[in-house]
């Protein structure tokens, strides 16, 4: 790393080696008989790789260099280039950071001693997932890209089904597998079309293709389906909540924090190929983005499963990123440089931000689940008293994800708002201003969702007596969370630094549109934002100190949270999450529903009753599920083809050969 900083060693080579090191980190554990050391070796390797990879990525980003390596692979698909340009370097940052933090977290969260059978596979595939994502960002040959893409998708599948003895995990795995392969199918078409356009499997250079041909539209459409399915843009989001909820938490952190961004990377990369994109592309992205944001967060509000709520909020954040990208594209089409810059900066910065606060929240949820033993928020409560550190860190993450200053979520959304409000002065596309209130609505709903989460998990008193041994998380679990919280605060307080991270990537994508003066101008603006952030923190600290001081002067007595003058308070006499979110969800009636089964209470002494709530998604229930059922019926004859007779299978091969021979003439 130090060599890299001195320039004695090629930073691109360091990044490449770091990516490969992560992939190999889990291998020693496969051969060690004793459980434990393998996991620690893997964590150490991954963290070492991050220590090498992050500085070299930063160096590559700041130096605006593009490094190309040629892989001698001997396959008949043309030369295989590995390239790190500023866009790749930017996306490499979260890959290294999140995978390292997650592997450290795993040592405390999924200890090898307790999970002897699953830990090896988990550690190995975890490394493979992170490594394949890093290589994906460097791949410039379509066939190599698909290969690495599949390694990524499949290792994520194996991570997801770690607890495969559970029925719901297996179901989530199958849904994920179908979704990801639908995306891969689209990508195969995508790369074939690209190859037919350019004549080789090498990905085209930035701005080298014309957007005004039918092939171009088809390329972008297949990219939207293929990459969108991975990113979870609506309407390709159905696999996402169950997959992220059922994976081990550090895996959810990587999947949500980084793997979704690989889909976004694909979209960004695709859009760089074309100069002069038509309005339609930007419009479609913007509409899909804002829909994902709005409905994603609405789904999140309705959830009572902790991790499902976080997963749905990922859909929302991907939606915000897509909106930013769409707005930037509209800016390119209408030659509005401000819109391009602010849209791009908002989208890219939100990618970085989301890869900080979402892993923080998922790791936090892991610490909670580790302590409580359930994901159902209706059974939690009062954790704030038993795990104060996790609570504080989780609070930081929640505030950040809601886009509240002085944390990082605010900065990226601020850039987006700024871009949208600037449209008031613009000659064309003035109506983009109406996106601002929609974005505000998304932010508001996010506050509802995370208030519900925080309130029902950390505040009040414990609702369930199932797992009374609540305990604070260990240091290996707290350290990664603390690290992410620090990053959230850092970007929130010093956004101009973050802008400098984003600018090289934007300049790489649109070199002719973005001038250094624009960057400097917005840097100044964010500097003022940073000042207000510091003031806000100072004010909060002052109020806290004052409160502590007042508290010290008066006698303090402790009573149950929801005491309210009752004689015999039980834990169940609390305001619940379902009731809190009911009103907000009812606005979206028809699209989703929070089905609450209430008992009817009659008489003076009602009998014992039960109340439960279940969020349902209309689109999934009314459209997707019947569609799949129908497909299942239509293809039932295929199951008869698989009759278990070896002879019949050979006969199929024979028949195919015979038909091909006849058909050739």
């Amino acid at each position: 790393m130090y060599f890299a900083l001195q320039g004695a060693l090629d930073p691109a080579l360091v990044a490449l080696s770091a990516a490969l090191l992560i992939g190999c980190a889990g291998v020693p554990g496969l051969f060690l008989r004793k459980p434990g050391p393998g996991q620690i070796i893997a964590a150490a390797g991954t963290i070492l790789a991050a220590f090498a990879g992050v500085p070299s990525s930063l160096l590559l980003l700041y130096s605006h260099t593009t490094t190309t390596y040629l892989l001698e692979w001997g396959l008949p698909f043309g030369p295989c280039e590995l390239v790190i340009d500023p866009l790749s370097a930017f996306f490499l940052l979260p890959v290294f950071l999140v995978s390292a933090a997650g592997s450290l977290f795993a040592v405390g969260y999924w200890p090898a001693a307790e999970h002897r059978t699953t830990e090896r596979g988990l550690t190995f595939f975890y490394g493979l997932l992170a490594s394949s994502m890093a290589l994906l960002l460097m791949a410039r040959n379509g066939v190599f890209f698909i290969m690495v893409w599949e390694v990524m998708a499949l290792s994520a599948y194996f991570l997801l089904v770690t607890e495969h003895e559970r029925e719901d995990v297996r179901r989530a795995g199958i849904v994920y597998l179908i979704a990801t392969h639908t995306g891969t199918a689209a990508l195969v078409v995508y790369f074939s079309l690209l190859a037919s356009q350019t004549g080789s499997f090498l990905l085209p250079a930035a701005g080298s293709l014309s957007a005004f041909s039918s092939t171009a539209s088809l390329i972008v459409l297949t990219a939207f389906v293929g990459f969108g399915a991975k990113a979870g843009i609506m309407p390709f989001h159905i696999w996402l909540p169950s997959a992220h909820a059922n994976a081990p938490s550090h895996v959810s952190a990587v999947m949500s924090g980084v793997m979704l961004k690989m889909g976004m990377y694909g979209l960004f990369r695709t859009l760089t190929y074309f100069y002069e994109p038509p309005f339609l592309w930007g419009a479609v992205l913007t509409v899909c983005g804002i829909t994902s944001a709005l409905l994603g967060i609405a789904f999140a509000v309705a959830q009572h499963d902790l991790k499902r709520l976080l997963a749905c909020s990922s859909i929302e954040n991907i939606g915000i990123i897509t909106t930013g990208l769409g707005v930037a594209l509209l800016g390119v089409s209408s030659h509005n440089n401000t819109l391009v810059y602010l849209g791009m900066a908002g989208a890219l910065l939100h990618i970085l931000n989301h890869s900080f606060f979402k892993p923080l929240l998922f790791l936090g949820s892991g610490a909670i689940i580790h302590a409580v033993g359930t994901r159902d928020m209706n059974l939690m409560g009062g954790l704030g008293k038993s795990m104060p550190r996790v609570t504080l860190l989780f609070l930081v993450g929640s505030v950040a994800i809601c886009g509240i200053p002085p944390l990082n979520g605010f900065v990226s959304e601020f850039l987006l708002y700024l871009g949208l409000f600037r449209q008031l002065e613009a000659v064309s596309l003035t109506y983009l201003v109406f996106l601002a209130p929609l974005l505000a609505l998304v932010g508001g709903l996010a506050v509802v969702a995370f208030t519900k989460l925080f309130g029902s998990v950390f505040l009040g008193t414990p609702r369930s007596t199932v797992a009374p041994h609540f305990h604070e998380a260990g240091v290996t679990m707290l350290l990664p969370m603390f690290f992410f919280a620090l990053l959230c605060l850092l970007i929130g307080v010093a956004p101009q630094i973050a802008l400098r991270l984003v600018s090289p990537a934007i300049e790489f994508i649109y070199p002719q549109l973005v001038s250094p003066s624009i960057t400097a101008g917005y840097g100044d603006l964010l500097g003022r934002l940073s000042l207000s952030g510091v003031l806000l923190i100072a004010a909060a600290a002052l109020v806290t100190l004052f409160w502590k001081w007042r508290l010290g002067k008066v006698p303090v007595s402790a009573t149950p949270t929801w005491g309210c003058g009752y004689q015999r308070v039980t834990a169940r006499m609390q305001y619940g999450g379902a009731a809190f979110s009911e009103l907000a969800v009812s606005v979206f009636n028809g699209i989703l529903r929070q089905r609450i089964e209430r008992p009817t209470i009659a008489g003076l002494f009602p009998v014992a009753a039960h109340c439960s709530d279940q969020p349902t998604e209309t689109f999934l229930e009314r459209v997707i599920s019947p569609l799949f059922a129908l497909t299942g019926i239509a293809f039932a004859f295929l199951r008869r083809l698989q009759n278990g007779l070896m002879h019949m299978y050979v006969l199929y091969i024979f028949a195919t050969l015979f038909i091909l021979m006849l058909w050739a003439h």
Partner: protein
């Protein structure tokens, strides 16, 4: 020399019919061994002399003519079966189908766009006919041993085709092909043992019970 090669290929085709028409397993194994030896001689007839060629001929004859038949013979002896009883399709019907496919392969090969120097030889039709005979054996017979024999015949068909294509076959390719065959036979041998132990029979149609419902 070429006419001699063509005559040997006719012999190969006749052996295909023997394999299709017989129910005795020992006889089938010997027939396949003879076919293997014939194929081992073929490269020597169509390519100019070289020590490399001698090596290949010896190895092919040793593996196809002796090692694999030996392995199969041992498997048949240890399983204590002598005949292929109740095939899916009867022997007469299989023979007729074999004749039909042989005719078809001659017709098909005649229409293939081939180099003029290959036009008049029997390599391509013999190769396709042998391939199809292998497929026929694989699809119509129940016993695992017969399956292995079908697999060997199939491979012989591919081998004949390869003779034509590669003027000077690189040694690695041949070694790869032979190794493939040998490993395949070994795997089949293991499968034979396992099936025999599990089902107390060598009937592959019993494998349906492994199917997941």
């Amino acid at each position: 020399m070429i006419t001699l090669a063509d005559q040997l290929l006719v012999l190969v085709l006749l052996i295909n019919f023997i394999l299709l028409g017989t129910s005795r397993l020992f006889f089938s194994i010997r027939a396949v061994a003879v076919q293997g030896v014939l194929l081992g001689i073929l490269p020597g007839l169509i390519h100019p002399f070289s020590w490399h060629l001698v090596g290949i001929t010896i190895v092919i004859i040793a593996v196809k003519g002796f090692v694999i038949p030996q392995l199969l013979g041992r498997a048949v002896r240890s399983a204590e079966i002598k005949r292929e009883a109740e095939p899916f399709v009867g022997y007469v019907a299989t023979l007729l189908l074999g004749a039909l496919f042989t005719a078809f392969s001659f017709g098909f090969a005649g229409r293939l766009p081939m180099l003029p120097e290959h036009q008049n030889y029997m390599f391509v039709p013999a190769s396709i006919a042998t391939l199809m005979a292998g497929f026929l054996i694989l699809t119509t017979r129940r016993k695992v041993i017969s399956q292995v024999i079908g697999y060997l015949v199939l491979d012989n068909g591919i081998f004949i085709f390869g003779l034509l294509l590669a003027e000077a076959m690189p040694i690695m390719v041949e070694a790869g092909a032979l190794l493939d065959l040998l490993v395949g036979t070994f795997v089949m041998g293991i499968v034979i043992n396992q099936i025999n132990r599990e089902f107390s029979s060598l009937d592959t149609s019993l494998l349906t019970s492994l199917k997941e419902e």
